[in-house]
Subunit: 401 residues, 4 copies
């Protein structure tokens, strides 16, 4: 019998899928906020790995505050240029020395950011289109202590915090998430004109889903306005196709609705991100840990990206609650909507939350009592295996934004 | 008969007051995230005012990205010192010239930040404890256009965005909000040892409310550990008193629970904010527009502070939906919980949202149909008066965090 | 008998006073380069004093690299405004901890800069017209060692370096130096329109001295072009009067020669320094240690301002050679021109230079042999008293630019 | 007959070659000050070229203020690492728009700096070992005007300034210059352990020349202390060989004299420059326009690197006077030492200096009168061809440091 405080109850609302109006948003990987999330998380992974390599354990750090200051650019059909560079400041603190071993956290952070940008926003020429600087403090003397031996015991919560996760995704959520990922994946591979900064908003009213896409086009691959229009149509068709894979509802797709061809006002960029021209970004201002912004669901304000995955409870509980929700839905039938909340208590082992709260909307023919034991067992097992979250984050297997 | 798309319906959940578990948080005015919110909003107000004074209308700007990099400090009973300054970077874009008139947006922004800090975190010695710098771009050429003549027509939405507001506050919400405000008000006036960085978390389980306060104490006003303990007890009693004004439920208050007197690990600061030592901050990472973080309620991710209040729909709709919810509850009886959502559509006048959605939980003896017309009328009136939100923001009458 | 390697010989050139063409320049206290020199030296003094106060000795530091990035401004008769702030970056390294005592070198440096600017360029509103930031490294581990016990032994030279000093000043040199100092002193006290950024060039051809003054006028104290012209005339007359105190030669004075009243192109500023508009500055780019730039004389490239005065040989030997030259000329008659060079050798006590070289141009009726012993004795005495240079620098009694 | 004010006269001192004590210094290409000079000049060349390419003429700019803030590093035999990056700030102003054509001066400057570092300090990993940022202002409205049509007329002097040049180099000067260039050339090609930061001081007393070399060794190519010692000996022998090519005087060479093998205190670096650990740098603090620091000769304080070569008189006259001196000595026999000074007058064409002053020390059997006409003719011709200096600078054919 478990000692964990796990509560399973009925969720006192309709499943989101059954609500009348649903709004879902995803800022794609090249959106300024997502760039910050991505850099912050890549810096975090690089630091964790460096600590493991050099001292055998992850030391105190927190790098969840990257700030991006937009540049300015002069896009032009066939290829324009960045005029003023994007400026990125990596902010946080990290342990620089441990028992005589120095860890070059600044250069590690810069290297991680450079590698991340090269992979995910490859049109940005490093050092001219974007300047990345770093300010990592040493942090509080009190906190500069060891954060978990490798393979060792469960750490204590460092804060009173909570995490919340959901499953399964609604159709609208799946469309928004899948469309962005595939635009930045298979579609971009074949269509080099599409930039990494794709922002998708899905709105469902009853059985009508409208998907609005803002997609930054890369000028070097767009010859003229006709070409641009073709690019827009291409995205439209592709997203409509993706949507049809996820729903039988009526779907409308609109791409770059703010364009005005007569004015020549179109979403053309040099580098494929609006960060080149006027759009600043920060960590934690965009997608939540499950990759989406979902005003129909409770969300945590906590930024997940960039935080230390060993004992930063805000990060761990957001990821864990999402993981639990997904596991439960995978393994237990009859659940139409599930919300898992984890609330920590400072100083308590993180596998023993103050409360773990699983609330379900069951299918019509299922009663909460029918599945309660199964749900409880899964929650219990995942909590027991909490350090697995840490491992997966360090190995880059877990989405944080 | 109105042309606005206003929908009034029953909210398909229990009132938050009636839910079993409720979590509420507020980051006080001296918290690093709140400092950023406060600076960003004061910069915004100063720019709006400067534009009105100089060119008679508010020009394009957006300053919702202040980044704070923590300093380091050596607090000591009786008075320590800041070792490395806090660094604050004001980020955004603002129109620097309009029809031949130059507006010194950089120096205006710096002046606003300096004045704000002097008033709200007065222990920070400007220029040594904190360095403030500014990077304001000129922004997109397309967007550098006029944003609303004074006293004139309703602008068009600049984005597809939404806002959400609630009323009335629950007991727990009121306790958390009121406790922070009064600690930083009347209590601080009599007890100079309390810093501006007060973070309060309220957790209600059934009829038990636990209030956890983290209050940065100012070392110059704390002679020794006994004195510190007295200060902690003082806060505890004061918050307990505030709570009793708002509820008959059982209340527990804990202050600075992470302290360990034996280790000498206490929450002592030089300047009254954790920004002096390791806690970075950003705009939009803390309180929502109503001053609270409320995971039990839908929240918008949109940062409200620092945005242009003339046509930045993310800001306006968050403030307006909150305002509408409060007005409705003030004027219409029988509402136990009300949630107002406003969804914009790019290019549509902002007083004509795509949908304005008021969902209510009524008192047991009230039916939605009984109050629908009243609610609709109030929503309609507030939407018609949308430019009032702008005016109130510019005059500093509206909370944004 | 001394063990010091002191050489006294005849200088193989005419006295500068007797050369046909002589050029002399002084960048006044408000010139961007001088602002950097002044800040760097004030930071240095503040650090020395802080080290003495806290650990009883001056620890390793070097702060000779302040960089000023010009702002932009919109001056206007009656009072204009700064548009983009001047940015000042204090650069260097300083010991941050010594045997458990922390020294807050960053905040000390910022405080010193703020105080310096308030006193010497008072029109600059701190925090809006000028932003000052600091980057002080910890420096090489090898070098973070004690730099001289108070009142203790002579340190070793840290470098192979040299210093050079001269005396007496020529008439042209005295005019240039005195004019700048008195413009920024008695004249400014009575004429608030004159800014601190006064740059004076003196050129003598035979017996004709031309003094060219560039004087930044402060717009708040200048009503119109007539008023400006009066201000220019006032400076002209004042400088002519100063010149007449120093010479019987023919003197011409020109002020703000680049002005073009027809074009409205005049030297009007908001803050009294060209740093507000386009003129950047650095340490060591302007006046040498004696306050002048004298291409007719050998000069050291070494920046004097900002360096540690305890064992930074470049600083000490420039100041000491100047001091020696002045002492010799004060005490020994018959010297028309004197040049003192000190060359250090790494690792040798600084009171034992590799060579101390006094070269003289004697009056017609005096032979070097007549004064050699006296000169040698003074050089020897000043070298023996080398730590006095350190003391005087720390107490702010010595000019460094 | 020329209208130029050219004066040829006897120099009233001994040739530097004949003076008893001579000091010469060169900061090698990898020295922090030289890195700044090199970046500033490469930025200047890139801007000139970009202006010519885009608008057909060089527009106003000045980029002579690059600031380098040292990093920190942990060198180790076989290969260490940079811990904190070097920070380089490119400072200045440049015209960003001309008659509707935008010139991306910021990204051009960053690109030039990146290319320069890659070529000259190749061990510095861009973006991790060194972060380069840029602050280029728009500059004074008055000065944002065209600076010389291509192939067109001689511009007016922008300032009262002077330049000074010398020829021929003394033996000591040639040794110092040649040694550094060949260490960074042929020697480095064969000996990868030598870094670009080589600092050479030559001191001649009578007929004894002592050459002191400080050479940063690159740890990845140094296995152990023996290996290091071999590297030091290699430099010693090489420099001694270079010296013997230039002089028959007695020569002593010492390399890395501050090393202490017992303490393990040696000049080992990761990247081959002391900028990685504690040595900051600025433009104009090191070598003069002829590549040397020569306290025995008059020097201009003016920074040559980074300035606009079209009408920045400080740059042009320093380069031109050096060029004239070299031409005269090449073409006219009987000159033992020559000093050329050019003094500008604001608003006068730069080929018409206020005075051009050639002072010579002739060989024993030559009289100034014998060569005056030849000297005058060469000076006149070079002045007439002043725009050639501009062309050569833009094409990178002229040394500036």
């Amino acid at each position: 019998m478990t000692e964990r405080n796990i509560q399973v109850s009925e969720l006192d609302r309709r499943a989101v899928e059954d609500q009348r109006v649903e709004i879902v948003e995803r800022k794609g990987i090249g959106h300024p906020d997502s760039i910050c999330d991505g850099i912050a998380e890549s810096v975090s992974r690089a630091l964790s790995q460096a600590y493991l390599d050099r001292v055998g354990k992850v030391l105190h750090y927190n790098t969840d505050e990257t700030q991006l200051v937009a540049g300015s650019a002069a896009p032009a059909f066939g290829g324009g240029e960045v005029v003023e560079p994007i400026y990125v400041l990596i902010v946080g603190r990290a342990t620089k020395e441990y028992e005589g071993t120095h860890v070059p956290v600044d250069t590690i952070a810069l290297g991680a950011a450079r590698d991340y940008l090269a992979e995910h926003v490859p049109m940005l020429d490093y050092g001219t289109d974007v300047v990345v600087d770093v300010k990592l403090g040493q942090g509080s003397g009190d906190l500069v202590e060891v954060f978990g031996e490798e393979g060792a015991t469960v750490p204590m919560a460092n804060d009173t915090s909570y995490g919340v996760g959901h499953a399964p995704l609604t159709e609208t959520e799946r469309i928004v998430l899948d469309a962005e990922e595939r635009l930045n994946g298979e579609y971009a591979a074949d269509n080099p004109e599409i930039g990494a900064d794709v922002k998708i908003m899905g709105k469902r009213e009853g059985d009508r889903i409208d998907v609005t896409v803002a997609a930054a086009m890369i000028d070097a691959h767009v010859e003229d306005l006709d070409d641009y229009d073709d690019a827009v149509r291409g995205v439209e068709e592709f997203v409509a196709g993706v949507a049809r894979e996820h729903t039988d509802r009526e779907v409308g797709v609109e791409v770059n609705t703010a364009d005005d061809y007569d004015d020549g006002s179109i979403y053309l960029t040099v580098t494929g991100t609006s960060a080149e021209m006027g759009d600043d970004g920060s960590v934690g201002r965009g997608n939540r840990a499950n990759g989406l912004i979902t005003p129909n669901r409770p969300m945590s304000m906590e930024a997940t990206s960039g935080k230390n995955p060993v004992n930063h409870i805000g990060k761990i509980y957001n990821l864990l609650s999402t993981g639990i929700a997904e596991s439960v839905v995978d393994e237990v039938d009859g659940i139409r909507d599930l919300q898992v909340r984890l609330l920590s208590q400072i100083g308590r082992p993180i596998d023993r939350p103050h409360v773990a709260d699983a609330q379900v909307v069951t299918e019509a023919d299922v009663d909460v009592g029918d599945i309660e034991a199964d749900v409880r067992a899964i929650v219990d097992g995942e909590l027991a295996d909490v350090t697995n979250v840490t491992r997966r984050v360090i190995e880059g297997e877990t989405r944080t934004f």
